[in-house]
Symmetry: C2
Subunit: 206 residues, 2 copies
């Protein structure tokens, strides 16, 4: 659930240190809770996250939010919009203080044309995203909330990060009320067998 891409990060850090005479790449800092990309706006830079955690989410017209993914170190945002010359699809908001390398669109496109290593990392990244998004869509569509929640808790226990209940609910596409309710049902049904760290997390939440 927290995606990272260390290959991307180390590439860009190397590039930033060695090949940035023209200052195409700049490093920016954001406070926690800052929305640095807004759905529907035009964009002129892509960002590669150096430090911190962000969420990438779509706000639907009915007022609900759907979190596409949590993005950490080395994840890139805005690249789809630049590649396809479209307005931003999602909002990107920091969940902690964060720093990110900012790369102007033209320079990003130039990198793709001229640096095969960069392009291959990008291809890997896009592939990973398609895989994750598709399998998740399928899963969330075909299983009940209860299964989805267990899966989410498991992911969170593995990666040992902490996300607000509000965000977890948005990740599942439900309200906080429903999220709490389902947590509680899990607990009373004792639906978790075996996994100790998962049990602890559940105790802690419900």
């Amino acid at each position: 659930m927290l995606r990272t891409n260390l290959a991307f990060l180390s590439f860009i850090e190397r590039f930033y240190a060695e090949n940035n005479q023209e200052k195409n790449i700049t490093l920016k800092s954001f406070p926690s809770g800052f929305r640095f990309i807004e759905q529907g706006e035009k964009i002129r830079n892509i960002y590669i996250i150096k430090e911190g955690i962000t969420k990438c989410f779509i706000s639907e017209e009915n007022g609900k939010d759907f979190i596409i993914e949590f993005l950490g170190k080395g994840e890139v945002v805005g690249e789809l919009e630049v590649l396809k010359r479209i307005d931003c699809l999602c909002n990107i908001e920091t969940l902690s203080e964060a720093t990110a390398y900012s790369i102007p669109d033209h320079f990003f496109l130039k990198l793709i044309r001229e640096n095969i290593e960069f392009t291959e990392i990008l291809l890997q990244e896009l592939s990973t995203r398609i895989i994750q998004t598709s399998t998740r869509a399928s899963f969330q569509q075909l299983y009940t909330l209860e299964y989805g929640l267990i899966k989410l808790l498991r992911l969170q226990a593995e990666e040992n990060i902490n996300v607000s209940k509000e965000d977890m609910a948005a990740y599942l596409g439900i309200s906080v009320r429903s999220f709490n309710r389902t947590l509680q049902q899990l607990k009373t049904k004792n639906a978790i067998n075996g996994d100790a760290s998962l049990k602890m997390l559940l105790e802690q939440l419900a």
Copy 2:
């Protein structure tokens, strides 16, 4: 809902005609209803569809199917698996007679390294997929079936293709029974206002 990529197709046709002395690319034909990629298997070729319609779907462990997308002319399949060296994520099955260019994995990777035009088309394709998959996941998660069905019918009316009820149901992640029921509800509620071609399609189905 029926994705195509004419840029990809014309690239590969040109390449096939002019640069295929070593016979790396071959043209294959499949009958209707043929599953030429099976979830969980290893893969050694990618395919680019020349003619015909296919469906790309995940079979979940609970026996349900989820159709990721319908793929037509110029769509590529198997490239994620080759790029990431993993087993097949989905099944690909023809819905009509179909022909496809088959490209060995090593040659596909070589094309990426050596032909920037090819790579750029591929980047476009992957971007499109992420966008479609994400927005669809969000929509299907946050709106009711009724909305989802209307959207699906609209897409189908626009693209003027015909897909079996079974497949439409799988696209929505529901059973045929539920699909029919919802169609009927749409009809009796007269939920469609304005769009004539949509109304016709609904009449025809329900």
